[in-house]
Structure formats: structure tokens, C-alpha cells
Amino acid sequence: MLGFVARKLLYLVPVLLAVSLLTFLIASLLPGDLAYVILGDQATPEKVAALRHDMGLDQPVWWRYIGWLGQVLQGDFGRSFRTGQTVLQAVGERLPVSIELMLFAEIIGLAIGVPLAIACAVRSGSAFDRLMTGSAFGMLSVPTFLSAILLIYLFAVQLRWLPATGYVPFEEDPVANLRFFVLPAMTLALAEWPGIMRVLRSDMIATLQEDYIALAKAKGLKASRILFVHALKPSSLTLVTITGINIGRLIGGALIVETIFALPGIGRLLIGAIYTRDLVILQGVVLLVASGFVLMNFVVDMLYAVLDPRIRHGHA
């Protein structure tokens, strides 16, 4: 197990280095000079040249990259020249919102997807199964921003049950906080459950044919216990896989959902940085999000190994 973790950790180093390099190259090679952005359109060439020199922008790219990487490794991701906030402050402030949103969404997605998958697997081929499989397939074709608008129209405009936009910190008013999170989380969950349900369903259909299920049945165990405990347990690996694959989509979805529902999370920070051309924040956030994503995938890989010994011994 230790050897496995060490091997995976070693692989992380070049990937993270390449991620930082790519982030840096996107930011520095593409047009849109930081000095011009800071000084505005009216800047004289001399002023721009002076600022470029002060910021070290006139040095070769690789030299700037090493300098930047050194700062990043010391925890200095730079400071926004618009708000004066450091990247870490800005991200730290908004990260809890994004995490709450994604967790909430994944819980709703699992709460819809898992029972539906079991119900469909038990009655596979029935009218109910075909209806649900069909709707899951249809839901996969509904983009996040589309279901967001649909939910806003239904629950905020027509029924007026829930607020369409806004945010209250959890510490101030937990109920109001959750009310603001219901629609955004539902939006994301609508994109999550079809994937969970489709994969888990086909997994369960195979599991239900195993001998040990027949044995459990012969022992006279309750059907609900067989389905939710015996049959679901071997699918835990599948669930981890789906959740892992979903993270990337969840991050992208959270970006859109936070913008639509005006939640002050990482996604809105990023979009705001793009609108105001706040390149330091943009570069820092992209690097942090991508690194976080790589680490999340690493954790998912580790979870696999814990759940399935074959993987850590390389027989998979």
C-alpha cells in the first residue's frame, strides 16, 4: 500500500509542474499585456516600459516562470491590482460557498440516483425501468444553464417558493442560507443523477445475478436489506468512480450556477476576474482549481486502492 501511494505521489509532481507551466504560459504568452491592462488605454509607451521593467515583464519567459513558481511554492500567489486582495485571501473567502454547493448537489444527486438505480435494476426491462432510463438519457442532454432557467422559472417566478438569487452566510442564518442553496444545488444535481443512475443500474443488474444474492434470498433476508446492503456494497467502487469523474463537471457546473444564482463562490470570482481582466486573480485561481482537481483525483485513486486490493497490487 505504501509503495502504491509513493508511486502515485511521485507521478503527481510532474503533472502539477506541467499544470503550473501551462497556466503560466496561457497567462503570459497570449496577447493582453498586464502592464497595458493596469495602466489603461491612455498609457504612454515609456510608462508601460517602466512598469514592465518594475514587474519584471521584460525578462525572458522561462526566467519569469521560475520566479513565479518560486513565489507560488512559498504560498505567494500574487495580489489583485484591482482590489488589493491576495489570491489566497480571495479564494479562502469563497471556497466554503463552492464546497457547500458541490456537496449539497452531490448529496441530492446521490439521493435521486441511487434509489432509482436500484428500483430500475430490480425491475429491469419493465415499463418503469424504460421510462427512467429514457428520462436519464434525456436529462444528459439538458445543459446546466438550461435546467437553472427552468427551475428559476418554476420555483421562483411562477410558484414564488424559493429565492432566485442571493446569499446569506451559514453562520448568520442557517435556514436562509440553505434556502438560497436549494435551487443552485438542485440545478447541479439534475445533471448528476443520470450518470449515477445509468452506471449504477447496469452494475446492479449484474450483481443481482450473483450466487451470494441467491444465498441471501434463501436465508430469507428482507428484500430491502438484500438490495441496499448486500447488492449495493460491491457497487461502492462504481460510486467512487462516478463521483470522481463528476468532480470536473461539478466544478464547471458550479461556475455557471454560481453566476446565475449570484452565489459568491470560486466560480464567480473567476468570471468576475475575466470580466475585469484581473489577470493575477485569474492565473492564481486557475492554478489553484486545477491543482485541487488533480489532488481530488489522487484522493479518488487512493480510495480505489482502499476499496479494491487488486488495484494496489497491480492485478486490476
Binding site: V19, L140, P143, L208, K217, G248, I256, R277
Partner: protein, 290 residues
């Protein structure tokens, strides 16, 4: 109750998993819709449509009428014309992006799967780096620096598709490269280029095509999301995503302004998904493959 439930379980065990999705009326309906949207987009200039960018401030959010078949939007522009011209953007980006992805990704995947060794490790490793970025974040960051244009948008979304196509191409090539007909061709002294193009490509083509159609659906959605956020195609060009974004502001007064392009996008994405998935199920030998 318990016996009843488990009785059904036994039936499941007896009935084999359906082998492949049958080609049904839905498949043909999807093909029909795709052809319809293509025709409308291609013939947009020939159709007797009002201009999609001419504003008429006296006719803002006008209801459905003989002059404006689907009414007008918040700036008095003809909704039907914007829908059809929007289809052009969505289809252009949606098709050209995956073409870039399938050409580069498919080629890299085939080469990696055929030659193996260091080259394969390099290709797979660099794709891992590209996959390390949540796709939408990378697309946003690059459009933010490059500037908004249809060409930039297509290229970025195309590049983002490369890793997925590489994986499909490599996986298909890996299994095929060990098959008898490839070994036979090698024994006959065929060059690598000939084996790749004449023996492997025809076999890898179908899985790649099925994946290409799914890629079109994903790309249309991604373009829609970027345009919805106002970071996709620059105005006043209409795209379904930007129309939904504009319609969001008048959701209470004129919900159709958001829901018409939404329906068009949903049907198109669903059609590509349906056709792609059917093709994939037909080409995938695994039983009951999803």
C-alpha cells in the same frame, strides 16, 4: 412482499441483458431533426427572413404575429431569424471543434496504441496534464486571454476534446494491433503507414465516429454555456446560448425568449446524443454496454 420482490429478481437473472439498442423510430426522428436544423442553418440566407440583427425599438418583445412568426426579443429583433442564424453558430462550432479533436486526438491515439513505448507514455502523460484542468475553466481562461471570436472558441473547444478522442482511438488500436490481420500485414512486409491507414483506420473509424457525434453534443453545450455567460461569440451575432442568456433577463415577462432557444438546443443535443449512442452500442461488442 419480500417474496414478490425477489421473484422479480429471478426473472432478471433469466432474461439476458439486451444486446444492443435497436434502431427505432426515435433514431430516425433524431436524424430527421438534425437534417432539419442543418437545412435551416445552411439555407438561412435564402429563406425570406427578417435580419437577425435589425433592432426595432417600437416592437420590443412583440408577440407572435404574421410579420414575426415567433415574436421579437428584448431589442425588437426577429426571434425566428435569430434562432436560425444562431443554429449556424452552434452547428459550426459544434462540428468544427470535434473535427479538430477527432483528427488530432484520433491520430495521436492510433499512433500511441500502435507504436507503444516512450511515445505512448509521452502522449498519455501530456493528455493527463490537459485533463488536469476542469474543461470549462480552461476554456474560459483561454478565451479571456485570446479574445472572443468564433475561430478562437472553436479551436479551444476542439483542443479540449483531444484527450477524450485520444483515449478512444488508443483503446481501439491497442486491441486491434494484436489481431491476426495486422500481424499478417506485418508479415507481408507492409509499412507502418500502410498498416495504420489501410488496416487499422477502417476499424477505428466507427468507434471514433460514434464518439464524434457525442462530442458534437458536448461541444454545442459548452459553446452554449460560454455564450450564455457572455464569454462566447461576440454580440450582435446570435447563438443559442447567448439568446438563452438574454432571455433570462425577461423570464417574468416573456419566458418564450429563453425557452425557444433552450428547446432548440435541447432537441439538437438530444438528437446527436441519441444517434451517437446508438452507433456506439452497435459498434461496442460488450454485452449491455452503456
Amino acid at each position: 412482499m419480500a417474496t414478490l420482490e425477489l421473484g422479480i429478481v429471478e426473472e432478471v437473472a433469466a432474461a439476458p441483458v439486451r444486446r444492443a439498442r435497436r434502431i427505432g423510430p426515435l433514431f430516425w426522428a433524431a436524424i430527421g431533426w438534425i437534417i432539419f436544423v442543418f437545412a435551416a442553418a445552411a439555407l438561412a440566407d435564402l429563406l425570406p427572413l427578417p435580419s437577425p440583427t435589425d433592432m426595432d425599438m417600437l416592437e420590443r418583445r412583440a408577440p407572435i404575429s404574421m410579420l414575426h412568426w415567433l415574436g421579437t426579443d428584448g431589442l425588437g429583433r426577429d426571434e425566428l431569424a435569430r434562432l436560425i442564424y444562431g443554429a449556424r453558430i452552434s452547428l459550426t462550432v459544434g462540428l468544427c471543434g470535434p473535427v479538430i479533436g477527432v483528427t488530432i486526438g484520433g491520430a495521436l491515439g492510433m499512433l500511441a496504441g500502435y507504436f507503444r513505448g516512450r511515445f505512448e507514455a509521452l502522449v498519455v502523460g501530456s493528455m493527463d496534464v490537459l485533463l488536469a484542468f476542469p474543461p470549462l475553466i480552461l476554456a474560459l481562461a483561454v478565451t479571456a486571454y485570446l479574445g472572443q471570436s468564433i475561430l478562437n472558441l472553436t479551436c479551444i473547444l476542439g483542443v479540449l476534446g483531444i484527450p477524450a478522442f485520444m483515449r478512444v482511438g488508443r483503446a481501439a488500436t491497442l486491441t486491434l494491433a494484436r489481431r491476426e490481420f495486422v500481424v499478417a500485414a506485418q508479415a507481408l512486409g507492409a509499412t507502418h503507414a500502410r498498416i495504420l491507414l489501410r488496416e487499422l483506420l477502417p476499424n477505428v473509424f466507427l468507434p471514433l465516429l460514434a464518439f464524434f457525434l457525442l462530442g458534437v453534443a458536448v461541444t454545442i453545450v459548452a459553446e452554449g454555456a460560454l455564450s450564455f455567460l457572455g464569454l462566447g461569440v461576440p454580440p450582435p451575432i446570435s447563438s443559442w446560448g447567448s439568446m438563452i442568456g438574454e432571455g433570462r433577463e425577461s423570464l417574468e415577462i416573456a419566458p418564450r425568449l429563453a425557452f425557444l432557444p433552450a428547446a432548440a438546443m435541447f432537441l439538437t443535443v438530444l438528437s446527436f446524443n441519441l444517434v451517437g449512442d446508438t452507433l456506439r452500442a452497435l459498434t461496442d461488442p460488450r454485452q449491455g454496454a452503456l
